[in-house]
């Protein structure tokens, strides 16, 4: 693996879905999955997961999951950089399991620790009557595939309402990105890289 001419670069993601802030709801759980391009392949770790149900603490407004994420991708092309899609579910007034929010965010590019807060949203019913019946029957509109929220195509037909936030924490390690010619680090390290090449020259 320590070859000088790597064919792939690796992106190691670990972190956690820390907490969520859904002011009106309680007893929520979340699901996550990754959406990535054709050139990406997970080498280890879980691509999808479903968390425990968490309840609000007394007096606290946030729902804490601390649900770990750990996945490593390999890729040949930054195109289709992975995104994490989080969808949150929980019971409604009648105890039906309904969706409380969808959200997606790109995995950070740069190595290091990142904390991301994703605004969550749910699709709206198409009419008032639909809204009422969906509330009554506990079958709210959902995305056919949560991965829709990670892409732009087809979103123009939907109407959504924002609802809560989810906070995620990522620790990113990359390997061989620079060797393949992708610079993701800041100016400072770029400068050091430059001096190194000049020394080589």
């Amino acid at each position: 693996m320590t070859s000088n001419n790597p064919a792939v670069f690796l992106l190691m993601v670990n972190g956690q879905i820390e907490a969520a802030d859904f002011p009106e709801y309680d007893d929520l759980y979340c699901k996550y999955c990754f959406v990535y391009g054709h050139d990406w392949a997970p080498t280890s770790g879980l691509e999808e997961g479903i968390s425990q149900i968490t309840s609000k603490g007394r007096g606290s407004q946030s729902l804490v999951w601390n649900f770990p994420l750990d996945i490593t991708f390999k890729s040949t092309n930054p195109f289709g950089w992975p995104q994490i899609v989080v969808s949150v579910y929980g019971p409604d007034t009648f105890g039906n399991d309904v969706v409380r929010g969808y959200g997606a965010v790109h995995i950070p590019f740069t190595p290091g620790k990142h904390t991301k807060t994703i605004p969550m949203f749910v699709p709206e019913s198409t009419s008032r009557l639909q809204k009422f019946t969906s509330w009554l029957m506990g079958r709210r509109p959902e995305f056919t595939d949560p991965k829709v929220v990670a892409q732009g195509e087809g979103r123009e037909v939907t109407r959504v309402r924002s609802q809560g936030f989810v906070t995620l924490q990522f620790n990113i390690v990359t390997k061989d990105m620079k060797k393949l010619g992708y610079e993701t680090t800041s100016e400072h390290s770029a400068a050091t890289g430059l001096t190194r090449t000049s020394q080589q020259l």
Binding site: N5, A7, V8, F9, H38, D39, W40, A41, S75, T76, N77, F79, P123, S125, T126, S127, L129, Q130, T133, S134, M137, R139, P141, E142, F143, T144, D145, K147, V148, E153, G154, R155, E156, V157, T158, L180
Partner: protein, 1497 residues
Amino acid sequence: MTEKLRAAKSKAASLLEQESIIEPASRLQSLRDRDTLTRFDRDTDPDLQADEDSSFAARLKFRDAARRAAKDKRAEAGLPTAEEAYNFFTFNFDPEPQQQRRKKRQSRRREAEEDGEGESGEEDEEGEEEEDLFIIDQSAQDFLEVRRAEYIGYSRRLQRERETLFVPSMRPVPASSKLPENVRPRYLEEEGLYVGERPHVCLTNQNILENRILKQAEGRKWFGDDGCIIALPDPIKESSSRPPLFHLEDELDPALQAVYRKALKTKHVNLYIAGMGDPQADYQLDVDVSGLIFSHHPLFSREHVLAARLAQMYDQHLTRQHKNLTRLLTDKVTQKCASKTKLPALSQVTQQRIAEYKHEVRHTRQLRDVEQEKDRALLKSIIRVWKELKALRDFQRFTNTPFKLFIRREKVDGEQDEQEFENDIMAEVSELEAEAEEDYQRKMSEYRRQHEEWKSWKRKQKKQKKKRQQEEEEEDEEREEELGEEPEKPEPPEKPDTGDLEEQVREKAARIRRKPGEPVLIPELTVSGPITPNEQCPRAEFARREDVAKRALFIKVLYNDKEVSRTDSRTLNMDFRVHFGQIFNLKIVNWPESIKLQVFESVGSSTSQLTEVCVPVPESSVLTGSAPFEEMEFSSNQRVTFNHEGVGSGVPFSFEADGTNTQTLLTSGKLSCCVSWAVGEDDVPLAPPSSQPGGGMYSGHRQMDAIACIGASGLNDMKKLGKWAAESRLDPNDPNNASIMQLLSVVSSGDVAVPEYFRLEQLQEEFNFLSDEELQRSRRFRLLRLRSQEVPEFRHFKCVPSMEREVSEKVFQDYEKRLKEGEIIDTKEHIDAHRALVAKYLQRVRESVINRFLIAKHHFILSDVVSEDEVPSIGGPGAGVLGWNLFKLAEPKRPLKPCRKERKKVTAQNLSDGDIKLLVNIVRGYDIPIRRPYASKPPASAKSGRSFTEPFTAPVSSQTPQQGSEWPFGQVTPLVRPFVEVSFQRSVLQTSTAEGPNPCWNEEIVLPFSAPNGDYSSTSLQSVRDEVFINIFDELLYDVVEDERERGNTIHTRIERHWLGSIKIPFSTIYLQSRIDGTFKVSTPPVLLGYSKERSLGSEGGYDAVRSLSEGTFLSLFITIEPQLVPGDTVREKFDSQEGERLLIASEVFEKEASGRFPKRPCLTTVIDINGKTVFVTRFIRPLNPPQELLDAFPNSPQETAEVVARYVSLVPSLPDSVSFAGVCDLWSTCDQFLTLLAGDEEEHAVLLCNYFLSMGKRAWLIIGIAIPEGPTAYVLTYEQNRYLIWNPSTGQHYGQYDTFCPLQTIGCLISSDNVWFNIQPYAAPVRMSFDVSKPNLWKAFFSRAFPDPGLSSVQPEGLVYRHTDRAVAVELQDRIEKVLREKIMEWRPRHPTRWNRYCISTLRQFLPKLELSGGREVAEEHRLELQSLLGEYRISGFPLHLPFSEIRPIIEAVHSTGVHKVEAPNVEFALAVYVHPYPGNVLSVWVYIASLVSAH
């Protein structure tokens, strides 16, 4: 010490007391009152707060009581009284404690002084210490109170919270609280003052507001004398501040109606200058506006007019002098004369040159004369105008203009001058003389010639006269007429008079030239003259001057019609000159189209545009510094009149007193400006390259005039220009031609290259980080690009390598091969060239349609993205969740009638190989053919009683088993041991073996499914072309134990299987239908050797009685896909259409309504034709002639003709659209397209069949319905002999309306050539329906009285032309198929020799044409008998296969699926015969007879 201090303190306290006492009691009272008020606001007890609704007075009282109570409480606790407390809290203590302390200190000082000086130092410290202690002591006692920690109860906390909140009361506020004490409300109205009526405000709201205001610190100031809130009398504005909203319904003044204007795009928006991309190239135009001179202005006085004219003439004079044309021409004349004389008059060439010279000299001289005359005239008029001016000045007795003309006389040397003059005249005269002489000579020669002619004519006439005397009169007359035109006798020309000439020349010279010896007059105009000051002018002139002083001018600079800047405003001077002297630097991005200067004149605050001057865009060689100023003349046609001395403009005026000789002058002048390209810091011109295409076009530069006159194209064609210059003999010395000469020299040196291209997006190149070629060459980019284009091979390519070198060329091999194949059609595959072409065409259509769908696929609707429950409807034909379905919940469960549960549907995205399985449940079979015994004797009659006409006559007599008796009684061998083999995608599975002709398997077969390229998206799944083959075989066991002794303990049998029939179901059908459930007819060969289609007697009950009516083998199947896949929706892209908008809307409404009422019945009004356009479906129906041969085949029997036609249609190969066009979109082709392509799906077959039937005079309709196993499909309905017949166009079979085994299950709509009817009957099965479309309660017509048929023309051709198919081609094809099949069979039997029985083959070959003729019926038994007799010693099993011909591959597959080749008996022989029957229009019917022969011995 402490005592002293205490005393001091008490003193101070008493002082304080006194101070407070000094204040008047009343004020204290009021203060206290106010204080309570405020306290009430802030600290009132909650119980008080609760009682807020009570009146104010009551509250006051209550508060007093409360205060008292509090006082008591405090008194008990040994606290100071309320007053003290009040003082304590309200007093401003800040300064006082200090004061107090100062006092204390002072007192202490005093005491200390009294005590003595000695201790003071120590005491100071001590005293301070003590003082601190004392203060602490005191504070502890007086200000602090130690109490136990207070617990605030919940209710109290609530109360406190409520203290901070305030709910304003809705009760009216008493006037007393709104006004200062003891003031009565004053009502202005009562005092007689006008008070406006306030707008109505809800009283409660007003009260709330007043209450709220009163709670504020200075609430009372909001109230006026009358106790009301101070407000404007009427705060409502008279006029609305918002613009009124106009509604379309309202009658709007037409003048106010908005007019729609299309948005205009600026012409110059994207005209960037080429090469703008590089950062150095910023271009700058310098516009230098130096000044303005009016040649006429409305404020000109008469004198000004004359002066301006004078100045103008003088300018003209100066320029003429500067050019000095006269001199130039004179020089030229002399030079020419000199060169003429120099030439030796020898050769022909030189003589010609001399003649040319002469001509030129004459021409030049004429020009010179004209110029001289002009010069003289100008001089004369200058003098005349000056005289007029002087006269005017004298007349009006004041001077307005400083002009003064001096005329300088320049003395000339008289003699020399005279001599020159004389010389000149002499030269001219001599020239003229020479000319005249020449002319004379020419005329003389002419005369001589004419004279000769005349003489000869005379002679002739004389002769003729002599002749004529002998001729008749008639002729004479004619002759006379002929000779009537007698040529005049030419006059000899006059000799030119030289003396006369000289006189003429002299006279002319006197007129236009200065007399010799006369002094040269040189006018000089100066501006040194005095101007009469304002005071001395008459009133009118004074007014004019005043007016002039008021005027100011400025100039706007417009670049590409946009104002970029403007000059300062300058006042107009007395001399009507304005100097601006401003330079504007324009940094430009867009190509300059126009530069305009607008002159504005302002009088006071009003500004008016005088004129607009267009400045030409400079050549790129015109640079700042070197560019000369140009004077742009302008004029404006304003009409201005004044009542003072100003002459105005555009109005006539006169210089004469009597008003004659009027003239009209317009405002005009000259604008001096200079537009040039700036020069950068390092002397780089900031100009775009001169090769700009626009440059020459828009250049109005004077220097380029010569070029412009050739036309714009000449600019680019320098050769043409050079040619023109050579032809027109341009004078290289002429300064006017200098620029052209220079240009030509540049061109010939090749410095200027005009680009031959026009760049559309100049900036694009700057963004390319790689040239296109390089990008093309890169394999990696190519791969990425192909993938993003969703090319099938690469659509799911994973992990494109990161490095170019890692992408191997192999990746593209398949793709390139496919591309190449698109061009070269493999003729081997297709056998005949026509089909190859068709396949190619089809491929192209498919590609274009697929591309269209790829685009459409990215259009989403809500249901694609969001899954949402339908609103439950109450009742209705749909899922009435809230309606009757509620009652269904109460229904008793019926465990004996289980319903299939709906499975959860799986979206195809997250599937992978192995996830999908095909479930085939084979329930049972009916009427499977049974084996025939090997009777050496043929049965007497094997012919079934069924005749062709049977379907039409509804047979009632059931087919009786006639041959039951033939079976040897007590035979042990079963009738048949069938099993079912299912093959799909190379996996083959089979059921166990059952026994008997009506077996029951009830077995489930699970077949794996894998999608092509691992793509499980719905589009890909739809395009899967695999088919599920379900074959029924008979298992035969042969005992091969050769030794009889072993029979006891060994079983050695050979298993043979005989194919009995098959069912083919395309995967796409299963996918789209999600499940297929029913009893299907097994397609059995017309002849099955060794088997007979018999029914065992009475083995089944009465149930079979119905089924036995129809012939054939049936199989009950249930096929589905596990997990259930969501079939892709049809593309909802709206295709463009040529149908009328109204029709399209109507059809949409019709379809919507239909699907709303009967969601399960297909309704079709518009279809998409092969060009991708929406076409109304009735346009496809039109009577079309079938091939004549078919009609001639059975001239007497219309039924048989119909059958033949149906058979013909069914022979056109079928190709489902959903397979060819992966977007599940029905494309309909017209019949001629269909017959040309020779491929189409059920709709095309149905349309063709329907059209044929119509042309045959039948009543026919197209049925859109659902059938098994095809799914939604099209059938044809005909009405004959009072019966309705349903035709399956793909098989050519027909069913009666009441045929239970008709595959058509649901009828959605009927289509004829003029209408569409939707089925609104309660039942959709043909058995339970009425086909009478005239009943509106059963059939809903599309075109009704409300929406009549607009008369749609058909898209079908007038008639079909059939090419006669060559018999030879068919024979050739037949041979090729046979050869291929034989090779294949041998290939499939790699371990066994394949022997062919020639005798059998020849028999079969003879038999096949008979089969074709009979359509596969009737001859079966005869044939079998024939074979049996011939091949008695063989056990034959075999059958003919009948297929329409499209490609050879399906034929091979069909043969393979029968498994005939699998017979592994050692002595097996095979027979194979192929017959191709040609039908017109290249439709071929293929028969393949395959049989295996095993020797019975």
